[in-house]
Symmetry: C2
Subunit: 265 residues, 2 copies
DNA sequence: TGAAAAGCGGATTGGCTGATCCGGTTGCAG
DNA sequence: CTGCAACCGGATCAGCCAATCCGCTTTTCA
């Protein structure tokens, strides 16, 4: 799964069995699952779906979420299978394609983010609202490799993700307009820039990635977020939240990334 | 070739044939190849290497360079083979492993970058020197997918790349010190930050990637470089070199990336 | 409670790709 | 010119992995 070219699935010989669609298209069955734990109800059925089936569907979804988050969009299905404790037949019944599974997971992730943006809009301080947006995004990128890989304006061309993306863009525009009106950001900053800036922060975050290598701060990415934020406001440099890493730490990070493997279980 | 875990090559059954090492370890046989075109001499032999062998080796190297640049580290070997017009036996004789080939290509790329840094150090203006460094890096990331993937502090653990990386770090430190002495950058910026900032710019660059989608500027990344640069200097915002993209353009970029395929030939 | 429908899971398939093998060819020293 | 070692290239191998198939089990509903 190389991530570009989601179009012609490899060796699809016959027709595709249609999945038993448990949760309808529109979000908000149960909003934004708290983290890692599987909600035992995805409810809002379209075809009732037997009890054990629903249970398994959720097991798969939860397993996929952690697996994708830890290893990125390229985890082997077998990994997810092991984690979920179901057979491959079961998985592919609910999600006919690996991409379908990834999308289902990303939908949840995007919904979580959307909730955070809404929260940011409720903040009194317009600058703080923007900071919250970018911080949240970076946090999510730091802990979810699949999200990291699908963020920014590239996103793949899937209706449901498209929609969510647009909704978020609208909200982000609101956030930015407010900040501009208050004069706390440079006014040549456009809403369209935000996805790219998020990608930029993601780039730095990715380099810091392995959540916590011994000597290093798992929050190093905040430092680079700081630099970028300072680039967004008119007045220039502000204090940074993290000290830079030492060369030794950088070496350790690189080594950790080279050997990176499993982690869960 | 998933990029992490360069350690246990898949299914290596027997012992490995040692390659006929044409160019010695130390760089500077012929410095920094101008672009795409194969230099017909990599010279400085260690075992003379027959004439046709050397010719083929260079063909492979050149093909690999373009293939890796266009499609990233995951191009199929077959692609490179087609481009080079040689058989797989030939390729694997010179580069026993796909990684070996990639490393050979990256060595050249890194050497090119190193030359640019040296040039930046020769610039009178210390701020401009830093700008040149970051701009060059971004340019290279924009046009070379393999470089983009291997940049930042993660780099894989290969002696020869390690070395080059360290040499560049030293030079970059010099560049930064000079700029700090002149007071043109904030002084909480450390040399160790540079690789992360480069990764950040790379993140944005990647989002802009498909060199030129119709309506969009192929230089959009400069805009985000601009934001980051403004975050590095004490005085704050400066004019940006590019207008933001429109929503329609962003859509086009995404679409282009989704269908991205081949391109050469 | 019983039977049919729905679901389960793992053995299996098919295809992709990195790497190897080996019969034939070619450059080079003497 | 000649012999041979080095080299060529493509047929082939082997492992990996997404996706399918099908005999058996579980749920559901009358």
């Amino acid at each position: 799964m190389v991530l570009p070219s989601w179009d012609a699935p490899p060796h699809t010989s016959g027709v595709r069995r249609l999945p038993p669609t448990a949760a309808g298209g529109g979000r908000r069955g149960v909003q934004a699952y708290p983290e890692g734990v599987s909600p035992d109800t995805v409810t809002e059925s379209e075809k009732p779906l037997r009890a054990d089936a629903l249970r398994n569907r959720n097991k798969v979804l939860a397993a996929a979420r952690t697996a994708f988050a830890q290893q990125g969009p390229d985890v082997a299905i077998s990994e997810i299978l092991k984690l979920a404790g179901v057979g491959s037949g079961t998985l592919f019944r609910h999600f006919p394609t690996k991409q379908d599974l990834l999308v289902a997971v990303l939908e949840q992730t995007f919904d979580q983010l959307d909730d955070q943006i809404v929260a940011a809009l409720e903040d009194e301080d317009p600058w703080q609202g923007l900071v919250t947006l970018l911080t949240t995004t970076a946090e999510m990128q730091a802990r979810d490799a699949a999200f990291l890989a699908s963020v920014g304006p590239e996103l793949f061309a899937v209706e449901s993700l498209q929609q969510r993306n647009e909704r978020m863009m609208v909200r982000m525009s609101g956030l930015l307009d407010r900040a501009k009106a208050a004069g706390v950001v440079r006014d040549d900053l456009a809403a369209e820039d935000l996805p790219f800036l998020i990608s930029a922060i993601g780039g730095a975050t990715q380099s810091c990635a392995p959540a916590s290598v011994v000597g290093t701060s798992p929050d190093l990415w905040r430092r680079y977020l700081g630099f970028v934020l300072d680039g967004l406001r008119p007045q220039g440099a502000h204090p940074l939240p993290q000290p830079p890493p030492t060369l030794a730490q950088m070496k350790a990070m690189k080594a950790a990334k080279a050997s990176m493997r499993c982690g869960a279980e």
